[in-house]
């Protein structure tokens, strides 16, 4: 099978619907295992930090949430761009499916960061580059969703919200590099940085497990949500019947 045939087959909604359904356990099970192991390693096995004591353990939910909020935005903007350029419904479906997941993790990142900031910096919030750009990310997600819900026609909603998603993607590198470009209360990169991670393996390994666990969790959630989005966009009764095994509806 040539690459294009494969691509067209994958981009066909019925086929994709079935694949997404089959993939859910393959993402969900590793997600549960990785997150359980990572959190256990992070709150039980890892030693306390010499500066931050046990407060540093917030990192095992804060950093993966931050990572997911950025990953989701990148996926959403890329899918939206593909949908705009090639007019692929499925790409818009993926973008729309990703937005609420990304928004929820951007919120989790801000909330846990605020809770961590209180004992470490002595404040819940400060208008610094990292915190402000992350807050803008949350607003971009909310704007994207508000814009979608303003249209009754799903095709119009897809196209208008896709433009917002694509424009907003400039914020992603700004968030990542904000701690380098500006003076920030927020600590610099700890894991992905020149000279290797600034953490001993006993702290780092649980964190990496959490990163992968959250990523698998996103994949599982996206599969479920993208199935819903595909159903919303599909007008062809035959394949709906096929995809859902809805034989009862025929009688």
């Amino acid at each position: 099978m040539g690459t294009w045939t494969w691509f067209h087959k994958l981009a066909s909604p019925p086929h994709f619907y079935r694949i997404a359904g089959k993939m859910i356990p393959w993402y969900a099970i590793p997600a549960v295992v990785l997150i359980v192991c990572g959190v256990y390693g992070g709150i039980v096995l890892a030693p306390a930090d010499y500066q931050q004591g046990d407060a540093f353990r917030i990192v095992y939910v804060h950093a993966p949430a931050a990572w997911l909020s950025l990953l989701c935005y990148t996926v959403m903007a890329t899918a939206a761009a593909v949908g705009l350029v090639w007019r692929i419904k499925l790409a818009h479906a993926l973008a729309a499916a990703t937005a609420p997941i990304g928004a929820s993790f951007a919120l989790l990142c801000l909330a846990t960061g605020s809770i961590w900031g209180r004992p470490m910096w002595g404040t819940w919030w400060t208008w610094d580059a990292r915190l402000t750009s992350q807050l803008i990310l949350l607003f971009l997600y909310l704007g994207y969703q508000a814009l979608r819900s303003a249209y009754d026609d799903i095709t119009k909603a897809d196209r208008a919200s896709a433009v917002l998603a694509v424009v907003g993607v400039v914020n992603v590198p700004i968030i990542h590099f904000s701690v380098t470009w500006w003076n920030s209360l927020h600590q610099g990169a700890t894991v992905i940085r020149a000279g290797g991670p600034a953490m001993p393996p006993s702290m780092l390994i649980p964190l990496i497990l959490c990163f992968f666990g959250f990523t698998f969790l996103y994949a599982a959630l996206a599969c479920v949500r993208v199935q819903a989005e595909v159903l919303r966009r599909e007008r062809n009764a035959h394949w709906l019947q096929d995809a859902m095994g809805a034989r009862g509806a025929k009688e």
């Binding site: 407060a55 949430a65 909330a111 846990t112 479920v224 819903a228 919303r232 809805a246």
Partner: protein, 59 residues
């Protein structure tokens, strides 16, 4: 065990963060499943309607 839950004096900060994380994960799972169920029910109604129109058109 008690020292574990005390988190070196940061118990309120650490455990509230983990509770929020659990809440967000639970919301994500629930909301995804619910949105799929709603879309499915709507699609099933659509299929039923299409079938009804088709049978009423038949001679």
């Amino acid at each position: 065990m008690q020292t574990f839950f005390a988190m070196g004096g940061y118990a309120a900060y650490v455990w509230s963060s983990y509770a929020l994380a659990a809440l967000i994960v639970a919301w994500n799972v629930g909301s995804a499943v619910q949105s799929h169920r709603q879309a499915r029910e709507r699609a099933l109604r659509q299929v039923a309607m299409a079938a009804a129109t088709a049978s009423s058109r038949a001679p």
